[in-house]
Symmetry: C3
Subunit: 190 residues, 3 copies
């Protein structure tokens, strides 16, 4: 996002939109094993799923406003679907990052596992909870639940893209991103 090729930045965002729509609207059961830090995109993918299990001592959240990026509308859909509304709005506005314990306590993740293997086992168990459920009835139930969000997204995805493109092309934002990256570099060098 820093000094990007304009067409590539546009394509990045369209791809992100497509990934979200495919994952959030997938007719298959979906589960996320989170075995690393999951800010922004990582949190978005995880909260698009129906179930989340996370390893200790990692962090998760939608921190876009920290970087000056407006929370895309699909971030809002994910958080409203997972958290109580009061927490959803506040976390989005604050760009808040939670550690594993906090995430479990507020329901941002459903369970904690002590290893990647245990996390994958728990995900498989969640997927397995649908073994005796008719797959067509299951997927229609899920898509009915998410239909309003997916419809609103389709209506607003053009506007969402232009918001991102105009952000990415703003000199002020590029300057702020530069400072942010420089600080990251200094941190890494310590």
């Amino acid at each position: 996002m820093y000094k990007p090729d304009k067409e590539r930045a546009r394509l990045l965002w369209i791809t992100l939109q497509d990934v979200w729509a495919s994952l959030y609207g997938s007719k298959f059961p979906t589960a996320a094993a989170i075995n690393g830090h999951a800010p922004a995109g990582g949190c978005l993918l995880a909260t698009s799923c129906e179930y989340r299990v996370m390893l200790p001592k990692f962090s998760i959240g939608l921190n876009e406003p920290m970087l000056g990026i407006v929370q895309p509308i699909f971030c809002m859909f994910n958080f409203v679907n997972v958290l109580p509304r009061r927490l959803a709005e506040r976390s989005l506005n604050q760009g808040k990052i939670f550690n594993t314990e906090e995430a479990l306590q507020i329901g941002l993740v459903d369970d904690v596992a002590n290893s990647k293997e245990e996390a994958l086992t728990k995900c498989a168990e969640f997927i397995g909870s649908f073994d005796k459920i008719n797959p067509s009835a299951r997927s229609q139930s899920k898509l009915q639940f998410r239909a309003a969000d997916l419809q609103q997204f389709e209506k607003e995805r053009g506007k969402d893209l232009e918001t991102f493109v105009s952000f990415i092309n703003s000199p002020k934002m590029q300057e702020e991103l530069g400072v942010y990256l420089e600080n990251l570099g200094k941190k890494a060098a310590k």
Copy 2:
């Protein structure tokens, strides 16, 4: 629903739709005393009400997907109105059945009573909590809260009916229902 007369099956579903719309949209205070197992229709009626009290050692849930039936849209409205969204979607997708304790813990029922009499007393107390409330202001408050659901239902009830009718007339579904009923019979014979 097994090998039904087609017109009768259609009438059954229209009647169910009407019952839901009347109960969910009733201007009167509504409370459910649950003194038996409440899968599917029983749970639907109970969650259409404003308050639920349940006797121990019974079960409740919307298990339609178990039988291959798509969760009707009004099932979704009821669960979103009663449960946190995360639990609402997952329970609908899983066709999950809860016992009394679990139902109380997640808020699917508001209280537990040890006898039918005690359950009815608690329901009467809930209804009595409106004694000093202006009935017209009360019912307008309730209907305002449920208006969006009722409007969406009216828009989609035709589609919902066709989904059910096409399900009920599918040879595959009839076969699965046959197996399900046969197994129920074997269980009962034991």
Copy 3:
């Protein structure tokens, strides 16, 4: 509201509507320090904010139905945004008043403070939690979250005004308000 000048009553309601829309839709971070009883209007202002801290031994709630007043649609938006839906609807229908402890427990307020100074400090801390957040990204995130409510309000504010005006001009309601005020006077005289 008792025996009002008709134009003044209409203006009162329009002003209340404007205040709500400005506060609920403010692009700035908002926090409420509640250091007194907060029924009806007080609760409306507090729940329009993003954060609430309350002093002990006070009461809060939207008790409009107690006086025969229909809960305005913006009261519903505020409660749905702050409370679980099941509690939101029930509290609105009952016109329920909570004490400080109850309000904290259900999430109607976020914290309790023992003095006005402490409450203001906590509010300042909440506002301060946005210090490192880009203000434009923050306000767009908030307004995106509240957009649907604000749009529905604009569509229905005319109807909401007429509901209030017709209520205020009804002889029955004026009589009930008279009895209510007389009882308040007797209580005060004791």
